[in-house]
Amino acid sequence: MSLFDLPPGAVVAPAGCGKTQTIVDALAGHDGLPVLVLTHTNAGVTALRTRLARSGVPADRYRLATIDGWALKLITLYPGLAGHRNVGSAIDYPGTQDAAVAVLESGVLAPVLRANYGRLVVDEYQDCSARQHRLVRALAAELPCHVLGDPLQCIFDFNGARPDWDGDVIPAFPTVLELDVPHRWVNAGQPELGQWILDVRAELLRGAQIDLRTAPPAVCWIQLPDDQADRQRERAAAVAAVRGRAGAGLLIIGDARPVKSRIDFARATTGVQVIEPVDMSDLITAAGEIEAAAGVDRLNATLRFVSQVIAGVANPLAQRINALRRGPQDPPASDVERTCIRFFAEDGLALVRDILEELRATAGLHVYRPHMLAVMIAALSRATARGIDLRTAAIAEREVQRIKGRPLPARGIGSTLLLKGLEGEHAIILDADPMTAQHLYVAISRASTSLTVFSTDPRVP
């Protein structure tokens, strides 16, 4: 049975129960004018498009966009109706949304909407702002609309108001379907784990606690030691335990704040890498520093960057360079060291890139922020090829990544915000104590095969 056979309304989609497949199947069986499918991020759009193409759904069955992107297009096509114009490259999103809502609520474009789209589908509905909810409601007045989401996965923080699922969303879009087959875990041969994750939803939604000791064997609860050193040891042991198993895709859920705690964990734990935040602010800052510096200072800035991405390399390298400058050493200078020494004669960005590329190619190093290293190298190539400054190049490369989506490391550490929507075989929650029900649910539902939770008490959240 297709989603579109159901009356318009909301689909509650717990993690791993086939939400995306539901959308794909509905589009595959759809006839008539294309379906407008809206989601929140460009990465989400790309992911869905790839999934649809792989499933062989003809592109003329759907139109994919982000809610904000579609609203922006609308007011650009009809600027007089919108009464709002975004000047320059800075987009006033609330203003854009308000204008789009006004245009849609006026009903002037109803014939256009009905001639363009047969239906409306909105994904990740729990992440909508109040404005976006209003915009979708205005569209739903013209087009049969299905929204998919999970109130228990609502973890984004908003400056503006957020609609309440039961109080605002359901009255507008009554629940017509609740997905309840834990496909992700069934496909991984772990139906018991998947069913447990589904079953605990009721408690979590109610605001009650769950007892991790009563979970299936795939779930391992470890009491979090008070001592920091003990903590590090226990956690490293948990990571090592997973490393030993086959198919060891591991997601480590660390603290949301401070980011440094996760970076430090990755640096200190061999084999673990950082899942970068989307804004990649450390990259941009480092790019600015390298760009601004000259001569030896630039080498120092480069080495500082190296220490941010590769463990235990920068300091020894600096010492070796100093020594080699005084005179020949034993062992003789390596390629990297020779490149560094060239810095004292010339200080072009190409040299920086050479250093980083050579280090990346070196075996046996613990590169704990590989994505940031890769994007910096790409930025250096762009800057040298086009003759622009490194910081601008870094921002450009970051934007490219935004659309493309980042590659997932085999063992990555991130926050629930970063890991939401991703999957792995194994998950380790480093500290469940500060988590809300939503963050906890997102965290425990990442892994298909095993879950390890550190907390001071087995009853969480």
Binding site: R63, K73, L74, L77, Y78, P79, G80, L81, S106, G107, V108, L109, P111, V112, L113, A115, N116
Partner: protein, 583 residues
């Protein structure tokens, strides 16, 4: 069905400026020659035809001023779903409301429309683009794709229809059914048979020539030509599909039908094929057709359908068309002499206008109309016109003046109808009934020029009152001839018993006698047909006008001046200030 909501023309041929909202069904354009009616059709054709292959010359620029671009905007409504596509055409969606006109973006309650603009600059290179102000501000130029243009392209029922009656490439016959005659083999065969049948039929006539050719061939040693014969050339006998043509039952090609019949038939065929062609343009609709077939063609084009099947633009000079269409379907092309902006004015706003249209159709085709109270006045002015023409004046027709019979009680309404539609209107009426102030004011506001007699005279009374003495007798004699001597004498006697019926008094006639005669003529309806009055006008009134006096001469001279002072064809008095209405 897509249709034109608004047409805007700037600086195209004779049209400096036109902004016009046509009706959704048939639009009949009438007006003096060279008023720009055909240019309106040409403009629509140029913008909407699928092929972008028109060429232009300096003569297409208004006033030959190539410094300023020609602009033609066509705004299309009732859009097909494909043109509502948000991504492709959203930037060009505009709003249309019959009261407000075109707004650059759709508005509440307005219809979503799209404008197509044709621009021609001094380089004579035409550019077509979808147009909206916001797109123009963004320098966004985009034409409709070919598939859409084909859907909008108008059908033109022009002068030549013959190619549609055979199966050539561009014939409408190919569009009626999805079948093309695949008679290739049969055609080739026919060619072969023709050659075979001809054989050496030419041999006898050209025998001498053949002999000489063979001779020379033998002498110069061209072996192949020594046996030369005269046969049909294979190249000369080859047939394409275009050679298959429609014929009537007797084998006469339909292409030989008269022009009117061809156009009528083709119009019907194009209607069948015309589901792809929402807009139809017809030049000189009446061309080559008798009245009953003109009517047939109008019905074919949907003139009488409650819901028009398509939008049609027609130019015409035919009163048959004027009579057959409704006042809402007729537009008069009118040009301001000082500033040649063209206006198209809908002929009828009142239901009463329809009656005038039916009965005075001919008059609507002239720039100036003289509404006469009755047949007497119509006949008189015609007769006078003939007399004056004989004397060397310009005829009324050359001055663009037509007469309309007001049939007494209808004269005011008719005069108002003409005047409000922008015609230069005169009203010639008796003075025996008093017009009330209301009516007089309406006439004056409408700009109607009035011609009348001393009160309380009818025309007959005024004639007898003021005409020269020696015209009296001829008048009475004609009256006797047409109405019977006894009857006429009796009527005279009844009013003045002592009048000398011989009418040979050299001293002339006094007031009382003239009055009696006038009364008798009125009551007895002596001259009350157009032909009688015409004779009077030509043979009596005209020649004796010089010897007459009083109001008779004054009014007739006013009439004469009004007729002769009619502005040139195609222009109007600057005094006519009529608000055009575009409903």
């Amino acid at each position: 069905m897509p249709l034109i909501r608004q047409l805007k023309i700037e600086r195209f041929r004779g049209i400096r400026h036109l902004e016009w909202s046509p009706g959704s069904g048939i639009n009949g354009l009438i007006g003096p020659g060279d008023s720009g009616k055909s240019s309106v059709l040409d403009a629509i054709d140029l913008v909407l035809s699928a092929r972008r292959s028109a060429t232009f010359t300096d003569a297409d620029f208004h006033g030959l001023d190539t410094a300023r671009d020609i602009l033609i905007d066509v705004t299309i409504g009732d859009l097909p779903a494909s043109l509502l596509d948000l991504d492709r055409y959203g930037f060009f969606h505009r709003g249309w409301d019959s009261d407000i006109g075109v707004t650059d973006e759709p508005e509440a309650g307005s219809e979503i429309v799209v404008s197509i603009r044709l621009t021609i600059g001094a380089d004579l290179d035409p550019k077509w683009t979808l147009f909206s102000e916001r797109a123009e501000a963004d320098d966004c130029l985009r034409d409709l794709p070919f598939a859409e243009r084909v859907r909008l392209a108008p059908t033109r029922l022009g002068a030549f229809a013959g190619h549609h009656l055979a199966w050539g490439v561009r014939s409408v016959l190919n569009r009626i059914a999805e079948v093309r005659p695949a008679a290739g083999a049969a055609l080739a065969d026919a060619a072969r048979q023709a050659r075979a049948a001809f054989g050496d039929a030419a041999a006898a006539e050209v025998a001498d020539t053949i002999a000489m050719v063979r001779d020379v061939a033998g002498q110069v040693g061209v072996a192949g030509a020594e046996e030369a014969e005269a046969l049909l050339d294979a190249h000369g006998v080859s047939f394409g599909a275009g050679a298959i043509a429609l014929h009537d039952g007797d084998g006469v090609p339909l292409r030989n039908l008269g022009l009117g019949s061809s156009r009528l038939l083709v119009a019907g065929l194009q209607a069948l094929a015309g589901n792809t062609s929402p807009i139809t343009l017809v030049d000189e609709l009446e061309h080559g057709l008798e009245p009953f077939r003109i009517i047939r063609l109008l019905h074919q084009l949907g003139a009488k359908d409650a819901v028009p099947p398509r939008q049609v633009f027609v130019t015409t000079h035919s009163p048959v068309v004027v009579r057959e269409l409704s006042a809402q379907q007729l537009w008069r092309a009118r040009r301001d002499p000082d500033a040649p902006d063209l206006s198209l004015i809908k002929l009828g706003r009142n239901p009463a206008d329809q009656g005038t249209l039916r009965t005075c159709a001919d008059a609507f085709l002239a720039p100036s109309v003289l509404v006469c109270e009755g047949a007497t006045e119509v006949g008189l002015i015609r007769g006078l016109d003939l007399y004056w023409t004989d004397q060397g004046d310009r005829p009324m027709g050359s001055c663009g003046v037509a007469t309309a019979d007001g049939t007494g009680s209808n004269m005011l309404q008719r005069a108002l109808s003409f005047a409000q539609a922008g015609y230069r209107t005169g009203l010639w009426h008796d003075s025996d009934k008093e017009l009330d102030a209301e009516e007089l004011r309406a006439l004056e506001e409408a700009g109607v020029m009035r011609f009348f007699w001393d009160e309380p005279n009818t025309t007959e009374m005024q004639i007898f009152a003021s005409i020269a003495d020696d015209a009296i007798r001829p008048l009475v004699e004609l009256a006797r001839e047409w109405n019977g001597e006894e009857s006429v004498n009796g009527q005279i006697r009844a009013r003045k018993a002592d009048l000398d019926l011989a009418f040979d008094d050299p001293l002339g006639y006094d007031l009382a006698e003239r009055s009696a005669l006038g009364a008798a003529a009125t009551k007895g309806k002596w001259f009350k047909t157009v032909s009688y009055a015409e004779t009077i006008g030509r043979d009596v009134l005209g020649p004796h006008l010089a010897g007459s006096g009083g109001r008779l001469v004054q009014t007739v001279e006013e009439l004469r001046a009004w007729i002769l002072n009619a502005p040139e064809d195609g222009e109007e008095d600057a005094g006519d200030d009529v608000e055009p209405e575009y409903l």
